[in-house]
Symmetry: C2
Amino acid sequence: MYRDSKLRTITKTISWRIWATLTTTLLVYLFTGELKTAIEVGLLEMVAKLLLYYFHERLWDHLSFGKREFPGFVLWINGIPRSGKTTVAGLVYKKLKNRKLKLQLLDSHDVRPLFPETGFGHEEVNTHIKRVGHLAAMLEKNGISCIASFVSPFRESREFIRSQANNFIEVHLDNDPETISRFDPSGFYDKARKGDFQHVPGLHFPFEDSVAPELNIDMRSKTPEQAATEIFQYVKNRFEL
Amino acid sequence: MYRDSKLRTITKTISWRIWATLTTTLLVYLFTGELKTAIEVGLLEMVAKLLLYYFHERLWDHLSFGKREFPGFVLWINGIPRSGKTTVAGLVYKKLKNRKLKLQLLDSHDVRPLFPETGFGHEEVNTHIKRVGHLAAMLEKNGISCIASFVSPFRESREFIRSQANNFIEVHLDNDPETISRFDPSGFYDKARKGDFQHVPGLHFPFEDSVAPELNIDMRSKTPEQAATEIFQYVKNRFEL
C-alpha cells in the first residue's frame, strides 16, 4: 500500500499552480487584451485554487479506483551447476530494480534459513524445489516478483511451480560440463568426475530439459551480461515496463 | 508498485475540472460583476486546462517522491493449544483487510507446504518457529504485513523473530487448560492427559510467558471478537491507519 505524503501533495499543488495560473493569466490576457485584469484574475485564482487543489489531492489519495498494482512474476533461472545462474540472476535483479519493481532474489543462500539442509537425492531435490516454488508463489500473490536461481533438473517440479504461479517465466541457461570445465577455475566437473561430488545433474544423471521454456539461452556463445539483457528485454516487453 | 490507470487519470481530471472551473467562473463574476465574461473565461479555461491537467497527472504518476509505502509488521498471535489463536487471527485479518493493507495470514495450514512435517519436540518446535519467523521477516521487508498464529512456547524463538522483524507485535492469548476444557467439545486436554497427545505446552511442559508482549489478552473473560477488536485498535493506533 502506498500513500502520498503531505509534502508530496504540497509540492504537486505548487507544481500544478504554476502551470495553471500561467495558463489562466495568458488566456484572460488574450481574451480581454487587458494585462492588469489578466494578472489580477491570475492572482485571485492562485490563492483560491491552492487550497482547493490540496484537498482534492488528499481525497483522491484515499480512492483506490484505477490504481493498478503490478502483477508480479516468478522468473525461474535454471541450468546445470556452474552454468552461470547466480551471476545472471544478480544482473537481471539490478536491471529490474532500476524499474522500481518489488523484487525478491531467491537462491540457495536466501532460502537456507527457511529450509533445513536438503540432500541432493532425486526425491529430496524435487521436494526442495517444490517448496521454493510455494514460497515464490506466495510472494508473487502479494505483488512481489521473484528471481529464483536453482539447479532444478526435474521437469515435474518445474511444472509444479508453473502451476502454482500466475506468471511463470522459465529461463534455461544451456551449457554442458565440457564447455564449463574449460573456463571454470574451481574445476567443479573434474572433481565431480573423480567422485568429490555426487548426484550432479548433467553428469551423473540426465538434466531433464523443458519442452518449451519461455527463454532458452545458449551460454556457450553468450556472456552473462548478454543473457541478462535478453531476459530483461523479455520481461520488459511482456509486462510493458 | 502501483501505477494510475489512464481511466483513473481521466476521471480525476474531470473531477478536478468541475471544481476548478466553478471556482474560476465564480471569481471572475465576483471580480467583474459580468456574468457573460465569467462564463466565457470559465469555458475557455475548461478546454485549456483539461489537457494540461491530464499530462501533469501522468508525469507525477512516474515521480516516486513522497509516495510512502506502508512499513508492514509481524503480528505474532501466541498461546497454548485451543486458546483461540486461529479464530482471533482470522477476525483480525478481516478487519485489517478492509483497510487495504497487504496481508498474509501464516498458520500451520499455510506453511505446511513450505516446511516438511515437523515434530513437536522442543528443538523441532524451536527451529520451526524460527523458520516461520524468517519467512515473516522476508514478507515484511517487502511491505507485506503478516498475521501469524502458532503455538510458540519458547521465549528464545519468539525473541529471535523479534530481532528479525522491523515491527514485531507479540500478542499473548492468555488461557489455561482447565478453562479451555470446560468449553472445548473436542476434549483436547482430556485426551492429552490420557496420553493421546504428547509435548503439549502448558500441560506436559511449561509455556514460557513473555516478559512484555505488546498485548496480553485474558481469553477467560473475552470473546474472540473482543480480542480481535483490541488487537485491531492497537495496530490502527500504532500505524495511524
